[in-house]
C-alpha cells in the first residue's frame, strides 16, 4: 500500500487564541500536529503494518510546519514532504486542494490518501473531499472504522459517522478517506522514531516542483478576523438546604425563563 497522509500544523487546542490587527496569535502555546490528523497518521501506520508498503506525510504550510511533519516521521511515517511556496500564502481551500492533488499525483501510484476530519484552526473540513474531487477518486469521509481493506482486490469498506448513525460504504481503491476521533488511539512517537525524525531532511516542494505552472488564484478572501463579543453573564447561584430544595428552585427558574 502506498499511503499518503495529509497533515497540518495548528495551535494546540488548549491555546487561548486572540487577534490583533487581523493577525491571529496563540500566546506561548505550542504549535502541534493538528489533533485530528494524529488519527489519520495512526490509521495510515496501522494499514501499513497490516499490508506493508509505505506512508508519506504531506503538508502544505510554512517552514515551521516541518515540526508537525517531524512528529509524523517520529510516529513512524517513512517520509515527509513539505509544500512551501510564498505564492501560497493566501491559499483558500480551493487552492489547497489543487496543490495537494498535484503533489499526490507527483508522488505517484498512491493507493490511499488519509485526512483528519478537519483542522482545529480553520475547521472547514472539506480539504479531503475537495482533493478527492480533483483526483476524481471516491471520498469516504468521517470514517470511524475501516472494516476491510483488500489491496489486491482494490477495495475498501468503511463505517462513516453521520449525525444519524453509521453508514456502511464499500468503494474501490485508490480512495480518499477522512477519519474521525475514535477510529484508533494514536501512538506516541518512539524514541527511535524521534531520533530518526530529528535527523531527517524533509524535502520542500514548490508549486513548480509539483507541476503547477501558475499558482491558482484563491476564490475566497478573509477581510476581517475578530474576537466574538464576550457575553457577560452573571451567574445566579442556586442555593438551598437540601438537594431537593436546590433542584426545585432551579426547575422553577428554568420554567420562568421559558427554556423548557
Amino acid at each position: 500500500m502506498n499511503i499518503v497522509v495529509c497533515v497540518k500544523q495548528t495551535p494546540d487546542t488548549a491555546a487561548t487564541v486572540s487577534v490583533e490587527d487581523g493577525v491571529v496569535s496563540w500566546g506561548d502555546s505550542p504549535l502541534v500536529l493538528n489533533p485530528w490528523d494524529e488519527y489519520a497518521v495512526e490509521e495510515a501506520l496501522r494499514i501499513r503494518e497490516a499490508h506493508s508498503g509505505q506512508v508519506t506525510a504531506l503538508s502544505l504550510g510554512p517552514e515551521a510546519a516541518m515540526e508537525a511533519l517531524k512528529l509524523a516521521l517520529a510516529m513512524g511515517c517513512e517520509q515527509a514532504i513539505l509544500i512551501n511556496d510564498p505564492a501560497l500564502e493566501d491559499a483558500d481551500p480551493l487552492v489547497v486542494s489543487k496543490v495537494l492533488a498535484a503533489a499526490i499525483n507527483k508522488i505517484g501510484e498512491v493507493d490511499l490518501v488519509l485526512f483528519g476530519r478537519g483542522s482545529v484552526d480553520n475547521d472547514t473540513g472539506i480539504t479531503g473531499p475537495q482533493v478527492a474531487r480533483r483526483l476524481n477518486w471516491p471520498v469516504l469521509s468521517l470514517v470511524a472504522d475501516i472494516t476491510s481493506l483488500d489491496p489486491e482486490g482494490r477495495t475498501i469498506a468503511v463505517e462513516r459517522m453521520l449525525d444519524e448513525g453509521r453508514q456502511l460504504v464499500r468503494g474501490p481503491l485508490p480512495a480518499v478517506v477522512s477519519v474521525v476521533k475514535g477510529i484508533n488511539e494514536p501512538r506516541y512517537p518512539s524514541f527511535m522514531g524521534i531520533r530518526k525524525a530529528s535527523r531527517s531532511e524533509i524535502p520542500i516542494w514548490s508549486t513548480a516542483d509539483i507541476g503547477l505552472d501558475e499558482v491558482p488564484t484563491p476564490a475566497m478572501t478573509w477581510p476581517e478576523i475578530f474576537a466574538p463579543t464576550k457575553v457577560e453573564t452573571e451567574c445566579e447561584m442556586i442555593e438551598g438546604e437540601t438537594p431537593e430544595e436546590v433542584a426545585a428552585r432551579l426547575a422553577d427558574r428554568l420554567i420562568e425563563e421559558k427554556v423548557i
Binding site: 518512539s190 524514541f191 524521534i194 531520533r195
Partner: protein, 403 residues
Amino acid sequence: MDFSLTAEHEMVQKMVRDFAQREVAPTIKEWDRKQDMAPHILPRMGKLGILGVCFPVRYGGQGMDFISLGLVCEELEAVDTTLRVVMSVHTGLAGLTILQWGTNEQKKRFLEPLAHGDLIGCGAFTEPGAGSDIAAIQATGKRDGDQYILNGEKMWISLATKADIAIVTVRTIPDAAKSSRSLSTFVVDLHSPGVTTGDIHGKLGVRAGSTGWISLQDVRVPVENRIGEEGEGFKVTMSALDSGRYTVAAGATGLIRASLKASVDYANERRAFGEPIAKHQLIQVKIARMAQDYEIARLLYLKAGWLKNQGVRNTRETSMAKQFATAASFTAASEAIQVHGAYGYSDEYDVERFMRNARGALIYEGSNEIQILIQADYALGHRRDKPLRCEMPVYDPIDWQEA
C-alpha cells in the same frame, strides 16, 4: 556555549509531556486520595521506552543522553512526583548503577528487562537506623560458597512492593578497618525465599506512589549478583545516589514549573478588590520568585546532565542542583497555595498535592543538610573527587545507539 535544546530533546519532552498529561493527569487526584499507585503506570512507562530512556540500545534502552533523562523527569514531575520517583529508583538507582558498575554479563542480564519494564527495579540502602549515614548500615551479608546470605531491614524504599529486583547494600566485612570499606552491593531478586516487603501508608506526600520496606531473612544471593567488588559497596552506593539525585533535581524543577503555571493561571482568573489578583504586587513577587527559581533550577540540572554526558564527575553540581531545586520546589508549591488562597488548601486544586509531594525530596536521596555539607567540603577543599574504578560511561551517541 549553546543553551538551546536539540530538536531531539524537544520531541522527547513533548512525547513524555503528552503521556503524563493524557494518561496520568486526569486521574492522579483519585489515586493520591486512595494512597495507591495506578496499576497502568509502570507497564506504560516500560512499553513507551521511558524506563530505559538513557540506557544504550544494546542493553535494550533507547540510547538517549542524560539531558533527555533530566527532561523526562522534569515533565513527569510536572504532573506528579510519583512518576519521577519511578525514574529515580528504577532507572537511576537500579539501572544506572548497573550501567556504571556492572559487568557486561550483569548489564545484559538486568538492564534489558529493566529498560522494557519486564523487571522493575529499586534501590534499597536506607534502614530504620541508617539514613544519610550509609556507613552505619546494619544489614549483613555472609559469604557461603558461591552465595551470600543476606539479613536485615531496609526502610523508606520506593517501589519496594512493586519491584522485582533491588540494589541492596549490606555489610559483608564486619572487621574492615574503615566501616566504609565493609560494604558490598547486590542485585537481590525480591521474589527469593526470605524476602518480605510492605508499603508504608500515612505518608505526607507521594501518596500515589509506593514507598515501603524490605525485610531480608537468610536470603541467598549468588555471587554473580554482586555489583562491584567485595567492599566496594560504599562507592557503588554513592554513585547510585549521584544518579538518583540528578533525577530528583530535574523532577523538582518540573514541580516548580507546575506550581508557577498553576499560580499564573489562577492569578489571572481570580479577582479580588475589582481586579485579577495578578495585578497585586505581593502576588507578583511570588510569581517572579517562582519564575526565577525555575530558571535557576533548570540551568543547574541541565549543566549536571551535560557533565554526565561528558563523563565528568558531577557530585558537586548534582548536589547543588538537587538541594536548590527541591528546596525551591517546596517554597514554590507552598507559595502557590498562598496564591490560591483557601482553594489552594483543598484537594480540588493540585497545589496542595504539589506541596506535600515536594516535602519528601528535602529528605531523601541525601538530605539537603548533607548536600550543604558536601558543597562546603568541596568549596573548602576538604573533598576532592578521586577516580573510581568504574566511572559512568561517557555518552557517545554512536556507541549508545548501536544495536
